[in-house]
């Protein structure tokens, strides 16, 4: 499992476009949005979180689009299956690598931008925690979408899996509100962590079965 994680990290490190692209787009969106509308700082503080949440959703969507398609197209997926006879560990390692290399930096960027928009220093770690958990859930969901339509252009499947991501977004919104207006942060973050654990346990099994079906 750790070996797969390092192999995936090795691959991702050399695919600059796959990890740097989504991060740069996120930064661009977060900078461009306040510049493109004329609002007071007071109003911006109130709704800037929505921009962070929506950009997190869209960038997760973008980052996982080709998570399996490259290995499927060049035949690596077949070789991995012959080696392991199952995709579970491979899928889990792949998702965790993407979360580590793209999801966590996204959460850091989101936290920094929320600080720049009026969140106090003490609240920034809370934002980081809920954004990190959200990326974990979103990457699992969109990885499933990507696996679903791996041979027909992954974007189609990722779009189809979008409704599954909405509960995570609702939870994230609730978490953000607790940070902004106080109260119940621990409860909401614990709920999100629970959902993330369940998703992380189930999704790789479903994705493994989906990938095996596509190999056939």
């Amino acid at each position: 499992m750790i070996n797969f994680f390092f192999l995936e990290a090795f691959k991702l490190r050399h695919k600059l476009r796959s990890w740097l692209g989504p991060l740069l787009i996120m930064i661009l969106v977060l900078i461009a949005f306040p510049l493109s509308i004329d609002v007071s700082q007071y109003d911006l503080n109130k709704f800037y979180f929505s921009v962070i949440v929506v950009s997190l959703l869209m960038i997760s969507f973008l980052a996982t689009e080709s998570i399996f398609s490259e290995d499927y197209e060049d035949g690596s997926l077949e070789q991995l299956y012959l080696e392991e006879k199952d995709f579970y560990k491979i899928v889990l390692a792949k998702i965790l690598t993407y979360v580590f290399f793209i999801g966590i930096p996204m959460a850091i960027i989101g936290s920094v931008f929320s600080f720049a928009n009026g969140v106090s220093v003490t609240e920034v770690p809370k934002i980081f925690v809920i954004l990190s958990i959200s990326t974990l859930i979103l990457f699992n969901v969109f990885a499933f979408g990507s696996a679903l339509s791996i041979n027909k252009g992954s974007m189609l499947g990722v779009l189809a899996s979008l409704p599954l991501a909405l509960p995570a977004i609702v939870l994230l919104g609730r978490g953000v509100r607790t940070v902004q207006y106080g109260g119940g942060f621990f409860e909401v973050s614990a709920l999100m962590a629970g959902v993330a654990l369940i998703v992380m346990a189930i999704m790789p099994i479903i994705i493994s079965a989906t990938l095996k079906t596509h190999l056939e």
Binding site: F10, H14, E70, G75, E78
Partner: protein
């Protein structure tokens, strides 16, 4: 010693029957050359033997537990954005890497080891992919058209390697329109499965 047995294998796709009632076995140290025209189901049969594809009928049994299988299909399973050396680092564990690097030198790929694989010729990419077979310790080697794109020297090298592997009790199943210089039994798939 029997290594693989196939019993009453059949495969149909879109109501077209590719083959049916196919029964054969393969012993250690033996080779099997699967022949047939385009679309006769050679690659599908290999994938069924590898358990990548489920047969419509029948089954394949491996007689040896923990059988080490190495396979090279139509897809090379190499990364175009990595150099040949990085590809080998990705494929092989550190213990097998020196052997893989030795093969890279033998195949003349050391001259391009720091170039991106995307910039290599078709034949060079095929040779890089074949190192997966050359440097692996396996009981069964399964190859799908391994000679395509190779120059005469590399073909001779591959034939020599396969002869040595058969002599050392490994087994071989391959499909090839280019006649291999290896002693193999032949299995011919006809275009009409009812034959």
């Amino acid at each position: 010693m029997q290594l693989v047995t196939a019993n009453n294998l059949g495969y149909s796709i879109n109501e077209k029957r590719l083959f049916h009632n196919l029964t054969f076995s393969l012993n250690s140290g033996c080779g099997l050359h699967i022949k047939g025209g385009n679309g006769s189901g050679k690659s599908t049969l290999l994938r069924i033997i590898l358990e990548l594809t489920s047969p419509s009928k029948g089954r394949v049994d491996y007689c040896k537990p923990n059988l080490q299988v190495s396979y090279l299909g139509h897809k090379n399973a190499i990364k175009h954005y990595l150099t040949p050396m990085q590809n080998l680092e990705l494929i092989f564990k550190s213990s097998a890497l020196p052997e893989a690097i030795k093969w890279m030198h033998t195949l003349g790929l050391n001259k391009v080891q720091d170039e991106l694989t995307a910039n290599l010729s078709f034949g060079q990419q095929k040779k890089l992919a074949l190192i997966r077979i050359f440097a692996s310790q396996s009981d069964l080697i399964i190859l799908d058209e391994p000679f395509v794109g190779l120059d005469n020297t590399s073909r001779d090298l591959l034939n020599e390697f396969l002869q040595k592997k058969l002599a050392s009790d490994s087994s071989l199943i391959l499909t090839s329109h280019i006649e291999p210089n290896v002693l193999c039994s032949e299995l011919v798939l006809t275009d009409n499965a009812d034959d």
